[in-house]
Amino acid sequence: MNVALGTAGVVLGLLGALVGIITLAVGLVRRRPSLVRSGRMYAFMVLGGGLLMTVAMQVALLTDDFSVKFVHDTSSTKTPLLFKVATMWAALEGSLVLWALILSGFTAVVAWRYRDRITDPLVGWALLTMFVVCLFFFGLLAGPANPFRAVSVAPGYDGPGPNPLLQNHPLMAFHPPMLYLGYVGFTVPFAFAIGALVTGRVGEGWLLGTRRWTLFAWGCLTVGIIAGAWWSYEVLGWGGYWAWDPVENASFLPWLTGTAYLHSVMVQERRGMLRVWNLSLLCATFSLTILGTFLTRSGVLDSVHAFSESGIGPWILTFFALVVIVTIGLIGWRGDRLRAPGRIDSPISREGAFLANNVLFAAFAFVVLLGTVFPLIVEWSNGERISVGTPYFNRMTMPLGLTLLFLMAVAPVLPWRKASGELLRHRLLWPAWVGAGVLALAVLAGARGLAPLVAFFLAGFAGGAAGRQLVLATRRHGWRGLVGRANGGMVVHLGVIVIAVAFAASSAYARQAELTLVPGQTATFAGHTLTYRGVVTKTFSNRTSVAAQIEVDAADVYEPALSTFGSGRSLVGTPSVRTSAVDDVALSLLALPPSGDDAAPVTVRVIVQPLIVWLWIGGGVMAVGTLLAIVPTGQRRPTDPVSAAPFSSRGAGGPGDGGDGGDRPGDDDTGPDDDTGPDDDLGGRPTPGEPAVVG
């Protein structure tokens, strides 16, 4: 039953995408609007297919229908409910079901959202592109990665359950869907970029149309990556949250190019420049999601959490090649026509800063990509096998990260076109003081070492710049000073800064020890006292855990455990972490005491790292900032590239911060986009009658 329904869903999605492609292609090439309009409707058929197969899969998982191959191989009657749901994305085929579902959802929303503009060839080609991507993923599910194959099972059969590491923490239910929303979400701006390239439409209209899509995808990807880091910190028990593992890099690469795009697109909206570059960034972001899918699903790279080996590698690589050939071909064909009419006047300007930002993000992405695939390239060239470790990534990315922090401090105060030294000195004064204050505080708190101290200073500097912008904007607009792209963006910056500080502190000042304790024994490490109380054995439906009870700082008891899941072939550690705003004490049980011997010692690894919790808080701030940036500000004029007035004669600056330089009427409601007054970076157009000068 579930096999039939699931297969029907896959076939429905596949057919919908195929017929949609044909109908749209004929309609667009022959210029028949009626065909294009009917082609749109197939998006809903694809969505129907996606929903049907997902429901069939979930029903099969929840009812332990082992006649479905995927359930047979990966689920178990003993798996707790939450993880039964999450089992869908705990193995390869099911994760593609989730991917295809989200993709069909995005396709349907595009078809619905642009229903009135569907006969616009740009929208038509964009939808066609989405259908092609749908065709590929539903095709994978119909053929090489079919999760709905039927198997016959003996009565009483019970499956092995998902990988123990994937049924160990509730974040597993949350992290992959967020990540996939991000990955798949980039398909929408990519599709519109292809539409713009095919139609050769010069102009910024499509950019505005897809801006929120891009922000939404980016925000989901951000949350997904941070949730993944959190999961690995809580579950893997080595005290780390980021290991530059190929799978992690696969999610980080599109994030880097996507972040570069979010910044450089503002230059295009404002000045009409960098068009080809922005299109290339969007295409690169999408291509990198497909490349990441290949790297994690083909088994070509060693990784702690690559999916199991399967035959789909060549298919994904073929699709990646197709994407690369088509996008590069289109850019080569259209590039000269789209090229920017403008030019950057001065490097010390907002657009100059965005350009530097893009160079840095591109370099960052290149460094990460190179480190990820370098072992494969070396092996190809001389047959040797090497591995590129964390030291390479840390050494290469640290200067880039610090430079980005510096830019984050300077860029938001720069006006468009050109900045004077006087203006910079004035606007950077108090951010610099904040940086100095943070530095002094860090030194007083005992922080040492050049790199972390530089990071703390720059973080304070950048935080001051973002805070200055937000203070100015909220003084003027109240809560509305927090919404809109520029102000929401500053909130995102604050989140990034919090993460940067937590990252620098936790990696520079981590302390680790392995303690062997007998019951009742107390040890002191890194200012924390740990007392071993004894061992408890707990039995859950899906696992048996042996936990050591460790009292931390004579207060709460924490229970790092070793668990045996299901068939008992693998022993999985479950760390236990005492979290506080200042530092984390992470405990992992390393060796089991012999059973039955209550007086035997246990060996526990203790990792003390400062400020860890701020990584997750920073991630939350970034998510909130993204949401604030998505909120419509309501007063947006159509973009008029290249015609932005370089200087407005209206509006004289106030005497100090908070003074208002005055806005051009009709200027958009995003603070730092304002380049008018000598002192102002507030955003927004005052509502009529509202006093323009505050403070």
């Binding site: 990784s303 690559a306 690369v324 590069i328 064909w333 009419p341 403008g342 022993l571 290249v642």
Partner: protein, 194 residues
């Protein structure tokens, strides 16, 4: 609005995009070619330069006071197991090794030898006392792991009766897998000498 359009100052656009795109495209296609010709990591892990070659010298004092030399084991299969008592996958693997050794004990057609890595003799003794197994254990020979190119524990090498390494096992072995490999080697051998 005083519009200053920089486009006016620019030279007429040159046709550069096709060339840049072509260059980027070629690089990416080579990259795709490299990716397409890579074997899966799991398969590469199993490959060892030793497979198909004579087993490296392996001899030394065993824990029970005797001496062991792999060269004296010709005529039967030997499973060389690199392990440590502190390595959790090794602890989990151990019952499979016991099972394998027991299966072949009577016939004497295959044996196991364990080589410890960075471990104390006392801990190894405790390990075997607790988990069973009475085959020879060579301790204190960290150089053996280097000779074999051991990357991570546990790792095992199957040596055929002629002293040729026929298979490398990464991670915990399963008795059934080793027996399957032996059966496969025997089948090939009989095919080659009808």
């Amino acid at each position: 609005m005083d519009v200053i359009d920089d486009a006016d100052e620019l030279a007429p656009p040159r046709r550069v995009a096709p060339y840049v795109a072509a260059a980027v495209g070629v690089v990416l296609l080579v990259f795709i070619g490299v990716l397409a010709t890579r074997k899966p990591a799991e398969e590469r892990d199993q490959q060892s330069p030793l497979v198909g070659k004579a087993v490296p010298a392996l001899s030394g004092a065993t824990l029970d006071g005797g001496r062991y030399d792999i060269d004296n084991q010709r005529g039967r299969y030997v499973l060389i197991n690199f392990f440590a008592s502190w390595c959790i996958p090794c602890q989990l693997e151990h019952p499979e090794l016991v099972q394998f050794a027991q299966r072949h004990e009577a016939a004497g057609d295959a044996s196991v030898v364990s080589v410890s890595f960075q471990d104390s003799e006392q801990k190894i003794r405790d390990f075997f006392a607790q988990k069973g197994g009475s085959w020879p254990v060579i301790a204190g020979q960290n150089s053996a792991a280097i000779d074999f190119g051991v990357a991570a524990l546990p790792e095992s090498y199957l040596v055929d009766p002629n002293g040729i390494v026929v298979q490398k096992f990464v991670g915990g072995v399963r008795a059934d897998d080793v027996d399957r490999t032996i059966a496969e080697v025997e089948r090939l051998r009989q095919g080659a000498q009808p």
